[in-house]
């Protein structure tokens, strides 16, 4: 019962934070520097790890698909499998997972530290809402950067698959054949479905991480606990939302 109460409180405070942040949406043009800074933090600093991970996901997908599809004499279709898997599922999900680990944890640590060291109280006294200057620019930035990261993740993943398809001796599929199959089966709609998923995941991850950070109580030790809680909650939410968003989009 106590656990359920904690979960409901968390949901309530997250929804409240969302509406409070959105109520300051009109101030976003004046917060341009903060928005750009957050775009840099969310997009630019996450890009290298997204690229590395996506490349190897693409390679593994091509390898596994090639191994299985060779039995049916269908290894020419590796490109279609890698293309669709990356665009519809793995691109957005892995980007969101990396966002939770790389950016979400940093957001929670920063806001939790501000809470513990009374910086949030100082903002409250100055009548400067944390939802306005700390949460809103991050939410706006993630909405802009998630599609960019997801599309880059897809492209790098597809490229990783093509490298394996070409250079692994048991496959030996030319890049032309690989990308022809990819183009034939992967439609623009599939990429857009993935981007929409990524938007939902990214928005929820940033919102949840902000909320957990702003509600941290206690001393410095709680900052670490808050970060762990934020990352775990984000990962669970990504997987749960993945099912429901996929169901809506299919």
């Amino acid at each position: 019962m106590k656990q359920l109460n904690i979960v409901l409180q968390g949901v309530g405070s997250t929804v409240q934070l969302l509406f409070r942040s959105l109520s300051y949406a009109g101030t976003l043009p004046r917060q341009w520097p903060r928005f750009i800074e957050q775009c840099y933090m969310i997009g630019y600093t996450t890009l290298p790890i997204v690229a590395i991970l996506s490349f190897f996901i693409g390679t593994v997908l091509a390898l596994e698909a090639g191994y299985s599809m060779s039995d049916f004499g269908a290894k020419e279709y590796i490109g279609s499998l890698v293309g669709l898997s990356m665009a519809r599922e793995l691109g957005p999900m892995m980007t969101a997972v990396l966002l939770a680990g790389r950016v979400g944890s940093a957001i929670t640590a920063e806001l939790a530290s501000m809470k513990v060291y009374q910086e949030i109280d100082a903002l409250t006294i100055m009548n400067i809402p944390a939802a306005k200057i700390l949460v809103l620019p991050r939410l706006a930035a993630v909405l802009v950067m998630m599609p960019v990261l997801t599309v880059i993740s897809n492209i790098v993943g597809w490229f990783g698959g093509s490298v394996v398809a070409r250079y692994v001796s048991s496959l030996g599929i030319s890049p032309e054949a690989y990308f022809a199959a990819l183009r034939h089966f992967t439609k623009f709609k599939d990429v857009m479905n993935g981007v929409e998923k990524a938007e939902v995941f990214g928005f929820v991850v940033v919102l949840v991480c902000c909320n957990i950070g702003l509600n941290t109580k206690g001393g410095p030790r709680e900052i670490g606990a808050a970060v762990t809680r934020a990352v775990v909650t984000s990962l669970i939410l990504i997987l749960v939302l993945d099912y429901f968003v996929t169901k809506v989009l299919v």
Partner: protein, 273 residues
């Protein structure tokens, strides 16, 4: 509680506003069943310097956080200029500032940006006017050389002074101080006392100061309240306090170091051989 002739004057623009008072009425606060504030009632008059003293852990800072609207009492009411300080609308109408014990400076911002945040967010003037205001505040506290530093590069005392400068930039009608002279040398402590007194005398700013600093309390305050174990045990002018015969007050204001105290004897007997 409002005195019609009592006006605060903005130290930067000279603009006048009503001085505000504080009314604390039967306030109690409990954390997990432990009562930390017990039926506290007092008023701070507009333009008054009111000092709250008391031993560590007596609930002074908790009470200050309630007056600042950062926490809600379990029972009782607090009013700043007749309004609930925990509401955003009250902070829109009454300019209230709190000098935190640890400074609570924004670590990711430079000293300049720490001070400029309030006027920028509330659009009080262009960048040139904001710069003048910030530099003026820093000069009052003699920390203008630290304008480009970050809080992590400042000593404890410097952080405190920057924190007071940040409070001044908000042009407060009510200024709350949590241990403003802790971590400061005697000269800077005296300067802070002078600043508090000047803000009252020149600009009629209402000040509520939580402190252990006996000199500050007894020299610049209009009235002093002493809090012990969450109870307001006495309230009066510095003269009243000096003349008090209450042994708790006398012991608190004039502590004696007794190395022959039974507590030390007990510790000696318990010490390992």
């Amino acid at each position: 509680m409002d005195s019609p002739c009592s006006k605060t004057r903005n130290p930067f623009t000279g603009a006048e506003a009503n001085a505000v008072g504080v009314k604390v009425d039967a306030v109690c606060k409990s954390y997990a069943g432990v009562e930390v504030l017990k039926d506290i009632t007092f008023e701070v008059q507009p333009s008054e310097i009111f000092v709250l003293m008391g031993p560590s852990g007596s609930g002074k800072s908790v009470l200050l956080r309630h007056i600042a609207g950062l926490e809600l009492p379990t029972s009782g009411t607090i009013a700043v200029d007749g309004l609930d300080p925990s509401l955003e609308a009250t902070r829109d109408r009454v300019r209230l500032a709190l000098v935190f014990q640890d400074g609570a400076l924004f670590n990711s911002l430079s000293v300049y940006d720490n001070l400029a945040l309030y006027p920028r967010e509330h659009r009080s003037g262009d960048e040139k006017a904001i710069r003048e205001r910030v530099m003026h505040s820093l000069r009052i506290l003699s920390v203008e050389d630290s304008v480009n530093k970050f809080p992590s590069e400042l000593s404890g005392g410097m952080k405190k002074r920057v924190s007071i400068a940040r409070a001044l930039v908000t042009e407060p009608q009510l200024l709350l101080y949590d241990e403003p002279t802790s971590e400061l040398d005697p000269v800077m402590s005296a300067t802070i006392s002078e600043i508090i007194a000047t803000l009252k005398n020149e600009y009629s700013v209402t000040s509520l100061v939580v402190t252990h600093d006996r000199a500050l309390a007894l020299t610049i305050s209009n009235r002093v309240g002493i809090l012990m174990d969450g109870e307001l045990v006495t309230l009066g002018t510095p003269d009243d306090l000096n003349k008090s015969k209450d042994p708790r007050i006398v012991d608190f204001l004039n502590p004696k170091i007794d190395i022959k105290h039974p507590r030390f004897k007990e510790l000696e007997t318990q010490a390992p051989a």
